[in-house]
Amino acid sequence: MESKSVLLVGVGGQGAILTAKILVNGLISAGYDVKMSEVHGMSQRGGSVSTQVHFGKKVNSPVIGLGAADILVAFEKMEAVRYSPYLKPDGIAVINDYAMESSTTAAGLAVYPEGCVEAMQEHFTCHVLNAQAIAASLGNVKCMNVVLFGSMVKALGMTDIDWEAVIAETVPPKFRELNLKAYRAGYDAV
């Protein structure tokens, strides 16, 4: 197979790295070569963050440039817009219909843009859900990342991997049930 690139974007602290970890653990169990790139440090203090997963029979670069991602998973809708130039024109976007103010918009120094989701839908195949609300309905907004992961698995059509087993192995035991519920809810939401 051709190698595939998944770009996960959001705001520091939203849990993109755990999502990528689940994805990567599943891909490894299925025998893929995988490279993953994270950003640490300064950008984690509420800044815009991205994590990339590149997988295939044999992969070289852990990162991609413009117009090269097959899948964009956005944990926040303005971040979907920010990273949209990285998505292939025929790429797929999974978008959390959820806005987080940036320090500039919160302070009134800039205005949060209108119509982020609609603009993405106009140009790409999109799967949109309110993962935040789904996570809240499950009793813990922190499992929002795994809700999105469920939606991504469906959007990717990667159903040949036992993702529930991978999640059970990857997350701490006390959050296992919650995350399995979150995964199923996300899968069913798109």
Binding site: V11, G12, V24, N25, I28, D33, V34, K35, M36, S37, E38, V39, H40, G41, M42, S43, Q44, R45, G46, G47, S48, N60, S61, P62, V63, I64, G65, L66, G67, A68, M78, E79, V81, R82, S84, P85, Y86, K88, P89, E101, S102, S103, T104, T105, A106, A107, G108, L109, A110, V111, Y112, P113, E114, C116, A119, M120, E122, H123, F124, V141
Partner: protein
């Protein structure tokens, strides 16, 4: 079985497998996780956080002199701090293998510059080794110790952010034991007196020449021959990018040992391809040497000397293939990092921001963010430890030019121990008109929470001597050390006023632990807005808290982010914000 590991985790594994005994470092992105990963091997090696990179390098080098395989790691600018012992260790040579990681940060994800530290290897006359993925991080770390011992020199293992922080699969090996022999004094080798250094220099040149010859056949450098049309000489992460960007059939000379360069191997490779490219991120380090050797090649004529590369950028720069992108027509506004909700630094910077005649020399750490809008409360940020001494220089120039300014020098607790202490002595010794301020949040924050000499714990999580910042300042001669909780804005302003009015040499320690420290039970709550009292004046926005915003012309506090620190409540002129206990 293969393990998914970051480059940093793989280096730690390689250091363990190589039989290293003594490891010392100071944290710095993107190098930090190497040492966070070492304590798991504590039963077989000693590892520590040192106060700074120079100390760490000296500790590791001392262990090498004692015959132990020894190791240090730092970010690229950390090597500037450590360069003094590195350059002399290059002349003296080693006993146990001595490996230094420089983790460079192209594109400055978390740094003040993107200096290319391969030049340091050339300048110091030591080997430079560059891995491309996590497996190589582990394997090359081990090879680095062997090269260090065989060629009697420190070895620079150079990574970049994408090598250190990318994860790929790694196969483990067993640990080799390298116990030092009984210590023997060898002052002729390890005393860098002028006479010894004079004798040592020819040895340095001889060892480098031998290493260059070794590079022509060593396993770190490998040739992948294609059809002979296009050839690429590359190293590190650039190899992975070039593999994706260049067409099928391209030949590669992938260098793991990038200083000294294997010129015979390079010439042989060049002769076998029609067109030769040198693909490297940042500076034309290899290209200049290859061209100087008379080998025709193309490099920085096409490839940018700035910022990170990636496969699509290379395709565009080398072959003119523009990526196809979609413009969705909506523009995202910037989302810069900010001080966290409840960050203890906020109160200090808010206090500074209210006085236009204050000049604040800042430093490197989470508190660099005190310079960002809307607080905008720092004038400078230069380097670790510069907060005090840059302030001293500003004050001297203001005094010499008759400008009336009030100057504050600011460092964090970890930075104080790193290199702020000497600046504090400068302020006293040369009577600089500066109030030194230590923002003590009891942790090294920005790099992701490492302990330091003031935190009371060491790298291995053991209780350690807790060096008190106020004791150090008092011992120097600051008779009036004011300790204040910066989250209490009235007390914070009073501390500043008292320091400025003091008849003694005054210093301020702002003390409140970072809210993210897990071993402390924090007093968290939630602030709420009484919208009947709120007049929409936006005073609360001036504290620059990500949880505080305006909705429908009234203040709104995001309950998912707020921790109840009350700094916003203290600045509200109408008392419209109050704290609810949770």
């Amino acid at each position: 079985m293969k393990h998914l590991m970051s480059g940093n985790e793989a280096i730690a594994r390689g250091v363990y497998e190589a039989g290293a005994l003594v490891c010392s470092a100071y944290p710095g992105t993107p190098s930090t996780e190497i040492f966070e990963d070492l304590p798991q091997y504590s039963s077989e090696l000693y590892c520590e956080w040192a106060p700074n990179e120079k100390v760490a390098t000296e500790v590791a080098y001392g262990a090498s002199i004692a015959g132990a395989r020894s190791f240090t790691a730092m970010k690229h600018v950390g090597l500037n701090v450590a360069s003094d012992p590195v350059y002399t260790a290059a002349y003296n040579g080693v006993r146990g293998g001595f490996v230094i990681v420089s983790a460079d940060d192209p594109s400055m994800h978390s740094s003040q510059n993107e200096q290319d530290n391969r030049w340091v290897a050339k300048h110091a006359k030591i080997a430079c080794i560059e891995p491309s993925d996590s497996q190589e991080c582990k394997d090359f770390a081990k090879a680095a110790f062997e090269i260090s011992e065989r060629f009697d020199m420190p070895v620079l293992l150079r990574t970049t952010t994408r090598v250190s922080h990318s994860k790929s699969l790694v196969e483990f090996g067993e640990r080799e034991e390298h116990m030092p022999e009984d210590y023997k004094k060898d002052a002729g080798k390890f005393m860098c007196t002028p006479a010894n250094a004079y004798k040592n220099h020819p040895k340095v040149e001889k060892n480098l020449a031998a290493l260059a010859e070794y590079g022509n056949s060593c396993a770190l450098n490998k040739v992948e021959m294609g059809d002979g049309k296009l050839g690429v000489i590359t190293a590190g992460i650039s190899y992975e990018y070039a593999k994706d960007a260049f067409p099928e059939g391209t030949s590669f000379l992938k260098l793991g040992l990038t200083y000294p360069l294997p010129m015979k191997l390079i010439r042989d490779f060049a002769a076998k391809v029609e067109k030769l490219y040198v693909i490297e991120e940042l500076d034309p380090f290899m290209e200049e040497q290859i061209k100087a050797a008379g080998v025709d090649c193309v490099g920085k004529e096409l490839v940018s000397p700035m910022y990170e590369l990636n496969p699509q950028l290379l395709k565009e720069q080398v072959f003119g293939e523009k990526p196809v992108t979609v413009d969705v027509g909506v523009k995202a506004v910037s989302r810069p990092p900010a001080l966290c909700p409840g960050c203890p630094h906020r109160g200090f910077f808010y206090t500074m921001s209210k006085h236009k005649d204050y000049v604040v020399a800042g430093d490197i750490g989470c508190y660099t963010l005190g310079g960002s809008a809307p607080l905008s409360a720092s004038d400078t940020c230069v380097c670790m430890g510069g907060g005090f001494s840059v302030a001293a220089g500003l004050a001297k120039a203001f005094a010499a030019s008759g400008q009336k300014k009030t100057v504050f020098g600011v460092v964090g607790d970890s930075t104080f121990f790193h290199s702020g202490m000497t600046g504090a002595v400068e302020i006293l010794y040369n009577n600089a008109d500066v109030i030194p301020v230590v923002l003590d949040n009891h942790i090294t924050g920005m790099t992701g929470h490492q302990d330091n000499p003031g935190s009371g714990y060491n790298l291995r999580g053991e209780v350690a001597a807790e060096v008190k910042i106020e004791d150090v300042l008092r011992a120097y001669g600051f008779r009036d050390v004011i300790i204040v909780d910066p989250q209490d804005l009235k007390a914070m302003q009073k501390a500043v006023d008292d320091a400025l009015a003091s008849n003694e040499r005054a210093a301020i320690v702002c003390r409140r632990p970072c809210l993210l420290i897990k071993r402390i039970k924090h007093d968290k709550g939630l602030c709420v807005v009484d919208t009947d009292k709120c007049i929409g004046c936006k005073s609360c926005l001036r504290v620059g808290c990500p949880a505080v915003m305006v909705k429908n012309k009234k203040a709104f506090i995001d309950p998912n982010q707020c921790v109840g620190c009350t700094v916003c409540a203290q600045v509200c002129p109408k008392g419209a914000i109050s704290r609810k206990e949770s």
